[in-house]
């Protein structure tokens, strides 16, 4: 049975929580792996991922991000950082796009949600029933042992021995007439959240609360198109602040490979000073990476890539 994917939006006061759908990667609808939910918290305009499972799921979707949290046991260093994972603007947008592609599945969600809730209710009630039965058995045994203690004590204290039949008789009476009142049942209150299927009525309220899609600088638009195209070609991408470019492009997971390319996103008609072209190409050759000039052709047009290399002609 395939797991039906659902997209959930939850929020706590002062924070947006947007949870996009993870596309399972399989093209055909017949075989789909279970879809994990990725919880993204927006702190202002910065997107953060807090839970380990979500960080893992994001990595599997090809989104690397960067860890920005301090590690509790190694606080004063910058070599290794922990959660939360900060997502770049392009990475956030890519994950949200994947949710948008799963929107048609959301329409079927209300039905499944009703079923899910009913199943959960039944499960809960069953739990309560078995808990009640177990507790009543335990209560009865405790009463019996208390009775035996009382009888045994009376025996010793009184000196006159009562016939044993009296004890068993009393126990029989207890067995038959003992009633464990419902009001005395101990109920476990879970403080940890069992799952994300809560506050579903807030989903419709927040489904339009997506980070500002209205104003997008043209440069960020071209950056995103390049990002998405590179991702579709299977490359892993991180930011290239240290190398004077826009992205660092890896042939595989950054933990396993060195970057091959420094991607510089420009518009096709953008005028670049020649000195800058030379500078970035020379830098690239010094660190053994090829500089990639990337220009999106248009909204539906392919992205043009040109590799810049040091010619070696001295």
């Amino acid at each position: 049975m395939d797991a039906t994917p659902t997209a959930e939006l939850t929020s706590t006061p002062g924070q947006h929580v947007v949870e996009p759908l993870q596309d399972g990667g399989g093209g055909d609808g017949t075989s789909r792996r279970p879809h994990p939910l990725i919880g993204i918290h927006l702190c202002g305009s910065t997107a953060l991922v807090w839970r380990t499972a979500d960080v893992k799921a994001a990595r599997e979707a090809g989104v690397v991000g960067s860890l920005v949290g301090a590690l509790p046991r190694q606080p004063r260093q910058n070599g290794r950082l922990g959660r939360p994972l900060q997502l770049g603007q392009e990475e956030l947008r890519l994950l949200l796009e994947k949710q948008a592609s799963g929107d048609d599945l959301e329409s079927s969600a209300p039905n499944s949600e009703g079923e899910v809730q009913q199943a959960q209710t039944e499960c809960y009630e069953e739990e309560q029933r078995s808990s009640f039965e177990a507790q009543s058995i335990l209560a009865l045994e405790e009463r019996k042992s208390a009775l035996l203690r009382a009888m045994g004590g009376a025996k010793q204290g009184g000196g006159t021995s009562q016939p044993d039949g009296g004890v068993s008789g009393r126990l029989e009476v207890l067995d038959q007439s003992f009633v464990f009142p419902r009001s005395a049942v101990a109920v476990q209150l879970r403080t940890a959240r069992a799952g994300l299927s809560h506050c579903s009525d807030e989903r419709t309220l927040l489904s339009s609360a997506q980070p500002g899609s209205s104003q997008r600088a043209p440069r960020s638009e071209s950056r995103f198109q390049v990002f998405r195209d590179l991702r579709q070609r299977g490359y892993y991408i991180t930011s290239a602040g240290k190398f004077g470019g826009d992205f660092l492009v890896y042939p595989g997971d950054p933990l396993r490979f060195h970057a091959h390319f420094i991607a510089v996103c420009v518009a096709l008609d953008e005028q670049l000073p020649l000195v800058d072209v030379l500078a970035v190409a020379r830098l690239g050759s010094n660190v053994k990476k090829t500089v990639l000039l990337c220009s999106p052709g248009g909204p539906a047009a392919p992205v043009h890539y040109t590799s810049l290399q040091w010619s070696g002609m001295v």
């Binding site: 390319f261 020649l274 000195v275 040109t306 810049l308 010619s311």
Partner: protein, 162 residues
């Protein structure tokens, strides 16, 4: 500045006028290739001059073969084409003065000619810098030399310092 060499013992003397005839100040303007480039009718004089300097470098210094100049109508610049040596594949060279700008579209246009492209940037002191431009993704060369695995030596060293 011209230097006049006077040889008292010999009757051969070089006077200023002769030197001027042999090595005119404006020899570039008389060079046949320069005149050819001028005839291509490209407005940008600085770019034509840059193209000529690249031509001289390729032919006289690097001894390239079959170097010719042509006009690129879309970009209104002088392009060069040539081979590194006999039998080598043809390459396109785009010469540009350093103070000018370059856009990606122009690069794609030159790449569209179908030959490997070299961008050559010409500085005001005639320094030439060549840059290879290729369509698509070119994987960089892997690091050369032996890659030694230091193991935990570095880690241990750091530990000792504390």
């Amino acid at each position: 500045m011209n230097e006049v060499t006077e040889m008292t013992e010999s009757t051969d003397t070089l006077c200023i006028d002769d030197v001027d005839d042999l090595f005119p100040h404006n020899w570039i303007l008389h060079h046949p290739m320069y005149l050819r480039m001028q005839s291509l009718d490209v407005e940008d004089g600085a770019q034509v001059h840059a193209a000529f300097l690249v031509y001289m470098d390729l032919t006289e210094v690097r001894h390239w073969k079959d170097v010719s100049s042509l006009k690129c109508p879309e970009l209104q610049v002088v392009l060069l084409e040539g081979r590194e040596k006999e039998g080598a594949p043809m390459q396109s060279i785009l010469p540009l003065p350093v103070h000018q700008y370059l856009n990606h579209k122009s690069v794609r246009t030159v790449l569209g000619r179908g030959f490997p492209v070299l961008l050559c940037v010409v500085a005001s002191d005639s320094t030439l810098v060549y840059q290879r431009m290729t369509d698509g993704f070119v994987t960089p060369d892997p690091p050369a030399g032996q890659i030694q695995d230091h193991g935990r030596r570095q880690h241990r060293k750091r530990h000792q310092q504390h």
